[in-house]
């Protein structure tokens, strides 16, 4: 049976002290609304509503949860609380702020700050393949400040990708959607459904997930940078483990971006987690090092160029 999508709450609906303006996004686990608080400030409200377990029909506000799904629904709610708990403790300009948390309509809601902007994903789609190195370095260095804060709280994001990096109007990045953020503790328990996005999830995301660590988020950072250059997600890690057809950034964009940036991308995208930067700090340090502009090799002398033509091309 095809899975039905959940009906969002209608526009203009009043939820506690907030008024819903419209639906922002619909995921398998939740619906995000744009709403206005009593002071007229816009906020984003995330509604816990896994569509495989709870179904809201057109016209009603409360979802229907069958008794056999009640247990799983509550388990998922626990995960939603974990997300709220994790975010509430973080206070960083590059991490989304939680403003409120409440219970209504037999489910739970998380209110978050909202600012005009777009996701990095939208930005990539708009500027297909024409994103400057300066932009990439600027966005990722600041985004990594936020990720550092996340890791400092011994949390992992685990679903980093361009659509979870939100750019404010001034292009400062904000990490959003910590729905997958779990502590390794949770891996011993039955997981409702492991969440990851092919292309951005690290090899450790698949299988037993016992090797997940900061380096797993770092793989996703590398994949997101790769996507900025390529305009689309890189090959999924599980596919790469079978047959790696991902062209290294170093080969694909040689000369168009600094060697250092391309090296960093390939470094993050190592399939073996031990060969990646082991901490966000190490990655940031590499990113802010002085930029060496691409240096096209040129033999200045005409004789050198002439001889070069007959020489074997370097391997």
């Amino acid at each position: 049976m095809a899975q039905q999508a959940n009906q969002p709450l209608p526009n203009g609906h009043t939820l506690e002290e907030y008024t819903i303006d419209r639906q922002l996004s619909l995921g398998g686990f939740s619906i995000v609304y744009l709403a206005t608080d009593p002071e007229g400030t816009q906020v984003a409200i995330k509604e816990y509503l896994p569509n495989s377990l709870a179904l809201r029909n057109n016209g009603s506000t409360k979802p229907v949860i069958t008794p056999e799904h009640q247990g799983a629904f509550r388990y998922g709610m626990k995960c939603f609380f974990e997300e709220g708990r994790a975010l509430a403790r973080l206070s960083h300009p590059n991490v989304i702020r939680v403003l409120n948390f409440f219970r209504a309509n037999d489910t739970v809601y998380m209110v978050m700050e909202y600012e005009h902007g777009r996701t990095l994903q939208e930005f990539i789609q708009k500027h297909q393949g024409h994103i400057s190195e300066r932009f990439i370095r600027g966005v990722f260095t600041r985004m990594l400040n936020g990720l550092r804060e996340v890791h400092a709280h011994k949390l992992l994001h685990l679903d980093l990708k361009p659509s979870n990096i939100y750019l404010r109007a001034d292009n400062t990045p904000v990490l959003i959607d910590f729905g997958a953020a779990r502590q390794t503790l949770a891996t011993d328990q039955p997981i409702l459904k492991p969440m990851y996005t092919p292309g951005f999830a690290s090899p450790e995301h698949y299988g037993t997930r016992k090797d997940l660590g900061p380096w797993s988020d770092i793989y996703s950072v590398g994949a997101s940078m790769y996507a900025c250059l390529a305009g689309s997600a890189p090959q999924a890690a599980d596919e790469r483990l079978k047959k790696d057809t991902l062209a290294p950034a170093m080969m694909r964009w040689d000369g168009q971006f600094s060697d250092r940036l391309l090296e960093i991308i390939d470094w993050c995208l190592n399939l073996n987690h031990l060969y990646r930067p082991q901490s966000v700090f190490a990655l940031q340090k590499a990113l802010v090092e002085t930029v060496t502009p691409p240096t096209p090799k040129r033999d200045p002398h005409w004789l050198g160029r002439f001889v070069g033509k007959f020489r074997k091309p370097p391997q």
């Binding site: 247990g71 509550r74 388990y75 709610m77 626990k78 609380f81 974990e82 709220g84 708990r85 994790a86 509430a88 403790r89 973080l90 206070s91 702020r97 939680v98 403003l99 409120n100 948390f101 409440f102 219970r103 739970v108 709280h153 011994k154 949390l155 779990r182 502590q183 390794t184 503790l185 891996t187 011993d188 037993t208 997930r209 016992k210 997940l212 660590g213 900061p214």
Partner: protein, 305 residues
């Protein structure tokens, strides 16, 4: 808090197991207990069970998420356990009171606090060495301290199992407390009954546990001691924890309490006669508490501008 923990109790060569172990942890505090019910008296296992249950119950009530005063907690709950055993004796009109040794350790804020009565021991191991341990409340220990007999003589002395302090005896127990001991990353705290330390010394265990995976080495230590103990070997039990500070390679088996809610407590304790592996569901009450806690965290960390 982040740690790896292991507990096991084995019957050894005896007919029944009178040892009991437990550990519980909240977000910010950890409790471990070993109690060795005394074989010479009746119902040793009941005394041991009462002891660990009293400590675990008190911990569950008070560690929200931290204990106010760990030493006071240990003192109060061990004394309560002692009286609970006496009450049990009176209620069931037993001729002799069941008795048990008890060693209990609390860790919170990276500091360990422990207390003991009897000859169940706690070892603190760092870098393959025992850096501190409890002193048994046994006559033999006193003789060694006074220099009347040597350690080697003590090992085979006929009175080596006679102890002068325990829970449940008509004379009130002598409970000895540790100092506040700060833990370092990688430290191992090992609580065990005499069935284990009587066969494998603390030093040998420290060497075996150095840098090793606790979850593999700890059962191996019990295996070895059980074999060496032979067909008439004593019950052997241990609770061991490796304290961790930060990200470690093998993170899947270690426990992190960061996202536990303030009132959540996990307890590992064998109960009498039934399997405690029931399914815990999120109750209405827990939902309200989780929301309450998140709201408090928002107010604390992200106050409204």
């Amino acid at each position: 808090m982040r740690f790896t923990i292991y507990q096991e109790s084995r019957v050894g060569g005896r007919a029944n197991n009178e040892d009991r172990t437990t550990y519980c942890y909240s977000r910010d505090a950890l409790l471990m207990v070993v109690a060795d019910g005394m074989g010479g008296h009746h119902y040793g296992e009941i005394a041991a069970q009462i002891a660990i249950q009293t400590l675990a119950d008190t911990f569950q009530r008070e560690a929200k998420p931290m204990l106010g005063d760990p030493f006071r907690f240990l003192q109060k709950s061990m004394t309560n356990a002692h009286h609970a055993i006496l009450d049990y004796t009176a209620r069931h009109k037993l001729k002799d009171t069941p008795r048990t040794t008890c060693v209990a350790c609390v860790v919170q804020d990276n500091v360990a606090y422990w207390a003991h009565a009897g000859d169940s021991r706690l070892f603190l191991m760092r870098a393959g060495k025992v850096i501190t341990q409890t002193k048994d409340h046994s006559r033999i220990r006193l003789l060694v301290e006074e220099g009347l007999i040597t350690e080697a003589q003590a090992e085979n002395h006929p009175d080596r199992n006679k102890i002068y302090s325990c829970l449940g005896s008509p004379t009130p127990p002598e409970i000895e407390f540790s100092r506040k001991t700060p833990l370092e990353h990688g430290d191992v705290l090992l609580l065990c009954s005499d069935g284990l330390w009587g066969i494998t010394t603390g030093e040998q265990m420290a060497v075996a546990l150095k840098g090793a995976n606790l979850l593999q080495v700890a059962p191996m230590l019990l295996d070895r001691a059980e074999i060496k103990g032979g067909v008439h070997g004593d019950n052997l039990s241990m609770v061991a924890v490796r304290w961790e500070d930060s990200y470690v390679e093998d993170a899947s088996s270690s426990i992190s309490t960061q996202t536990m809610s303030q009132d959540e407590i996990t307890t590992r304790l064998e109960e009498f006669g039934r399997n405690p592996a029931y399914k815990s569901d999120l109750s209405e009450d827990e939902i309200e508490k989780a929301i309450e806690e998140i709201r408090n965290a928002i107010d604390k960390y992200n106050p409204k501008k």
